[in-house]
């Protein structure tokens, strides 16, 4: 459009110049003809029109000055040259050019604005389905297992195709994800049965009459290995379920009561080893979470405190509105404390634990955004679990 306007303007300038030339030339011809026929009656000059003086110039001159445009040519009369200058008013032409220029500029700007505005608003309407698709996809989280809903008939063929393709893609991905989750769970369940079989056969063997010290020893070792397998399998299943978000039901739990109940058992169970237990629980500390998971969390922490202890050692449990702190005496762990909560990482070589106990703790804590801090200072293990914004 710009090019067109400029072109038009240039053509107009050219044409005006031509017109001026034609006018001046016409006047040259007319006035010289008139003068040369009657040099007495026709004056040698007329203001604003022409001017005739004897003389000669080289070539033609055509120019603008102030409000006039003039042309100067040499014409011969009776063998003597005369310089004829004709004038026309250049004012009108100039004004015309200016007015056209301004009009063009205004039209150009107005059109430009109109185009931009119309373009924007129609573009917005046009692209609405696209943006809504983008927003729907942006919000989609495969782990929440929700259905993605996209409008399949937006009225615009390209977007319809886009939406269809996306829905099909998400469907496939969901399927693959579900299969993956299912596989781990299924594998774990499948393992339960052979584990149960082994355990039952060993138990029957312990009843068999031919049992002696040797065979009993062998059976005991089979038993222990089987127990570890069994425990590992159960823990793995649990970890998978937590990762898969299969424990959504959160209710209000009286944590004080829960800790009291669990620690009562541990206290009695390990009493005979001379482990001294101190319990300080603020009453009615409440949290919102899945009760089964919290039991496992607290249970594993307590168990660790008692197992990784020394004879005649001690365990201290303190519960406040903001944190659960468990301290215990015990030998130092080997390795990097920050890796303690990784799966299968154990602080000491101790085949009583599978190394998954703390991984479970970490997983559950992460689920509810509890902060875990572990330190070992001067023979004292301390583990603190902080509740968010309690």
């Amino acid at each position: 459009m710009l090019a067109g306007s400029v072109f038009f303007y240039l053509v107009l300038i050219g044409h005006i110049r031509h017109m001026k030339h034609q006018q001046l030339q016409l006047k040259q011809t007319n006035f010289w003809t008139a003068y040369s026929h009657d040099t007495v009656k026709v004056p040698t000059a007329l203001t604003g029109e022409y001017n005739i003086i004897p003389g000669e110039i080289q070539g033609d001159i055509e120019s603008d000055s102030a409000n006039l445009a003039y042309m100067r040519q040499t014409h011969p009369l009776n063998g003597r040259p005369y310089i004829v200058t004709t004038y026309i008013s250049a004012k009108e032409y100039r004004h015309l050019l200016i007015k056209v220029g301004i009009s063009e500029a205004v039209i150009f700007v107005v059109l430009l604005i109109a185009i931009v505005v119309v373009n924007r608003s129609s573009s917005r309407r046009l692209w609405t389905p696209f943006y809504s698709t983008m927003s729907a996809i942006g919000d989609y989280d495969i782990r929440q297992n929700k259905v993605l809903s996209l409008n399949a008939s937006t009225g615009i063929e390209e977007f319809d195709r886009l939406n269809h393709t996306l829905l099909a893609l998400i469907d496939n991905v969901n399927q693959a994800y579900r299969n993956q989750k299912q596989f781990t769970e299924n594998a774990s369940h499948e393992l339960q049965t052979p584990l149960a079989i082994i355990r039952s056969k060993v138990e029957l063997l312990t009843e068999s009459p031919g049992l002696n010290e040797d065979t009993a020893q062998l059976l005991q070792e089979i038993n222990e290995a089987n127990e570890r397998l069994s425990q590992m399998n159960k823990n793995l299943l649990l970890l998978t379920k937590i990762e898969n978000g299969q424990f959504p039901d959160a209710t209000t739990i009286d944590l004080s009561q829960l800790v009291q109940r669990l620690i009562q058992f541990f206290k009695e169970y390990y009493e005979n080893e001379g482990v001294n237990t101190t319990i300080t629980l603020e009453p009615a500390v409440q949290i919102t979470a899945n009760p089964a998971l919290i039991e496992i969390l607290v249970n594993n922490l307590l168990r660790n405190a008692y197992i990784h202890n020394i004879p005649n050692g001690w365990v201290m449990v303190r519960l406040t509105q903001t944190a659960l702190t468990i301290e215990n005496s015990g030998p130092p762990i080997e390795g990097d404390p920050s890796r303690l909560f990784d799966r299968f990482r154990k602080g000491r070589v101790d085949n009583r634990t599978t190394g998954l106990g703390l991984a479970l703790v970490k997983q559950i804590a992460q689920l509810y955004q509890y902060d875990i801090r572990y330190t070992y200072v001067e023979g004292v293990h301390q583990l603190q679990l902080s509740f968010p914004g309690a």
């Binding site: 079989i197 039952s200 029957l204 312990t206 009993a216 823990n235 058992f265 541990f266 089964a292 008692y306």
Partner: protein, 224 residues
């Protein structure tokens, strides 16, 4: 006492039936839904041990039919799934107890016997085993009229051994039985022996002979 075991895994079915036959139960075993249905229709059992994950039909369905027919057979559900929902559903459908796999045979045995006690001995809540008398309601033990002071854990331990008398009970089975907390998170059996030691001491103090024996480190047996 008549038992029916419904379990599709043959190896496991054999273990269970064999164990209970050793305990002088009349024990039958079936491994399919239809066979189970047949047996249940034909006979009245004192206790049915029912695996709910059966091919060809859910064990829960069998339970439903049983209860709809107003049958009074005791039912203990075995399940490979440790879901709380399954447990609640099972008990809702009319099961008397619920045990997850893998389980210890002595534990299953103790549950069956507890169920039978509830069914047939209501009113009578004492158990006489050798020179021991266990008052199940009061959770106390006496010998020759003398009360034996036991901690909660020691009582549970003794009752477990008594219920499985003359059978070897592994330390793991004991640990899991004594445990009162989230399933599958029981502490190890490493300190069972110290509780056994205390229990023996207390029994001895009250004049009991040595009835608790250690079996080659595999477990313990209460002998009468």
């Amino acid at each position: 006492m008549k038992l029916l075991v419904v379990e599709d895994e043959p190896s496991l079915l054999n273990s269970i039936t064999r164990y209970f036959r050793q305990e002088q139960f009349l024990c039958e075993g079936v491994s399919t839904y239809n066979d189970a249905l047949q047996r249940m229709e034909d006979t009245q059992y004192d206790c049915i041990i029912l695996d709910i994950n059966l091919p060809g039909g859910s064990g829960l369905q069998l339970l439903k039919y049983l209860r709809e027919d107003k049958k009074k057979d005791g039912v203990i559900i075995l399940s490979a799934r440790d879901s709380l929902d399954d447990k609640i559903i099972g008990l809702d459908y009319g099961a008397d107890d619920y045990l997850t796999k893998p389980f210890h045979l002595p534990e299953l045995s103790a549950r069956v016997k507890a169920l039978l006690r509830r069914k047939y001995l209501d009113g009578n809540t004492t158990l006489d085993v050798g020179i021991l008398r266990v008052d199940l309601a009061a959770r106390s033990v006496t010998t020759a009229g003398q009360p034996i002071p036991l901690s909660r854990i020691e009582y549970d331990l003794l009752l477990f051994l008594v219920t499985n008398k003359n059978r070897v009970v592994s330390r793991q089975a004991i640990a899991e039985h004594l445990y009162d907390g989230p399933t599958d998170q029981a502490p190890g059996p490493e300190f069972v022996y110290s509780h056994i030691k205390n229990l023996k001491k207390k029994l001895k103090e009250k004049g009991c002979p040595e009835i608790i024996q250690s079996v080659y480190g595999l477990g313990y047996k209460l002998v009468v």
